[in-house]
Symmetry: C2
Subunit: 339 residues, 2 copies
């Protein structure tokens, strides 16, 4: 399998990205190749000639002199910077020269690049970003968290199908329970689009649909899959991140006030929790619905996340999930329009 | 001041509601009246003849034999149950017989009842629910958290004006910093409605607008006021609730595994945090934009919350915030349509 990695994407690029790539090598299969996409000279000097010759069979450098900044407008940047790592990487995938792409760079540009170049899986109107929330009650897959901020009802249905495949095959959850994010459990709750989405999802007997869920239910073990539009999902994802950080800050502050010893004793427990409920364990988010495998990592990704992203992309690719999505959508009776 | 209280609203009604009313009495001003709205017999027997005669000058019972359930459809319930506590209470306010209404019951019915009966403040197209998030960096007022799930850009602007009044006068924050919830800081981020809302808010030089904020920023001290539509706000509110509960569950579990003694030592710290960052301290959420004062409490409210809600309604009423909102909107140059 050939995995293209955006060497220049993310707050800690290229160092942490390249370290993550190297750390993943022992776990790769024979014949797997990592395509490091970025300015060749920078990559060469960072990896060092020793590693380059040691891993000559695995690591290939693909020249991409330009970099898309984190704050650049995705469409403009893709148009202007045809030699950027994201542009080159998605083109590799489109041309059949890479089986997966991984980036911790500009999410919008990566999503747009994949959509433009790789095209969608047959039957999918819009790809979505799926992310796994590790909760006390088990992992919850949420889709979409930011690919599509003006969803049509049919998009919600397609996200349901795709996120269920993710939950079933990647996380091993048989017959995942699907909840639709709304503002109350009752059927009448939600805006018009969510209500129509509800009808579509409900009309598919193969989906284990439990109905509307509320924000609080994500952490209560009520569902395995949570469906929403990209605006709501993005707010949820970032709020969770900010709240967890904020809460630990408060706990630390209060513990220090109580006693330094108590604070010190609490630290290893907190570290263990961070590890256990660290979404970096899942290697980032998957852009599902495009022809190929695309893992989007957090901008602040360190080497561990990149390594996990590489492993996640292999799993996704090897399980043939895109094929399963295509087959499912080809036979579903649920229809809608993306217009 | 006359404060009408829905004696039958909430998971712990009528006991906790009536207890909260009685607990608030020592802090009321002379001449203040609490109108307990619900089935007279139930209220009488719960309060007891001793308290009734002791507080005869303060407590008045207003008969309302029907109750709207937590899961009933708001509009249907209001239409059918004209003698419900919510119907009677909002009618009291509309008729000038109550200065404030408080309910921990069906939020939708309470919002709809207030809108139908009390009407909006001049210049306000749609009322919004404002809630205060107590964060490590200070209180953040968010509006709307559920009154209006299909917002027009002008609604966002009006929420901004109203939430700023709340932040300034109730929380004492001079020139509050306003953030608009979106999915990225850059101007181009957000859906079409949010982008138009941004332009409206930005066009008012009297607003201290800091631009888009993301979910994570609420807990990072970036803004004092966070503006969003009722769908997003409701998800944020409930997610926060669920995540905090979930996280404390994880902490407890991990601490118990580490050592029982450590868990026991952590408990008082946790309790202190709960108190310090308890949004019940603010007595619930305010429905702002209606002619009058309406405090909406969480369904799980205990007596303390009800007491705080009574105090909050007094403060809001006595500060004349509705008058200030009306004056502000009468002179603003920002116009838009709710159509």
């Amino acid at each position: 399998m050939r995995i293209a990695i955006d060497a220049m994407g993310g707050d800690f690029a290229p160092d942490e990205i390249l370290n993550g790539a190297i750390e993943s090598i022992p776990q790769l299969d024979k014949g797997d190749t990592l395509l490091l996409v970025g300015p060749s000279e920078t990559i060469q000097s960072k990896i060092g000639s020793k590693n380059l010759s040691k891993y000559a069979n695995v690591l290939k450098i693909v020249e991409a002199p330009e970099v898309i900044g984190m704050d650049e407008s995705p469409i403009d940047a893709l148009r202007k910077k045809r030699n950027s790592s994201i542009s080159v990487m998605t083109k590799l995938a489109a041309d059949g020269e890479a089986d997966a792409v991984i980036s911790a760079g500009n999410t919008g540009a990566c999503v747009a690049g994949c959509q433009l170049r790789m095209r969608n899986i047959e039957g999918v109107n819009r790809p979505g970003i799926a992310v796994v929330f590790p909760t006390f009650e088990g992992p919850v897959t949420m889709c979409d968290v930011g690919a599509n901020i003006s969803c049509k009802p049919i998009n919600f249905y397609e996200y349901t199908v795709m996120a269920c495949m993710y939950s079933k095959y990647l996380l091993g959850i048989e017959n995942p329970r699907v909840g639709l994010m709304s503002i109350g459990e009752e059927e009448a709750k939600g805006n018009e689009i969510v209500k129509k989405a509800r009808e579509l999802i409900k009309s598919d007997p193969k989906i284990n649909f439990i109905g509307n869920i509320e924000g609080r239910d994500i952490f209560k073990g009520k569902c395995d899959v949570a469906i929403c539009d990209g605006f709501v999902g993005n707010v949820v994802l970032k709020l969770t991140e900010g709240l967890v950080d904020g809460l630990f800050k408060v706990i630390k502050h209060e513990l220090m006030k109580e006693s330094l010893l108590l604070a010190m004793k609490f630290k290893p427990v907190m570290m263990r929790m961070y590890q256990k409920y660290d979404y970096n364990e899942y290697g980032g988010a998957l852009l599902i619905g495009v022809n190929g495998t695309c893992v989007i990592c957090h901008g602040s990704s360190k080497s561990k996340t990149i390594k996990n992203a590489i492993m996640a992309s292999r799993k996704f690719h090897n399980l043939g999930i895109n094929e399963k999505i295509k087959e499912y959508l080809a036979t579903t009776g649920v229809k809608g329009t993306d217009e």
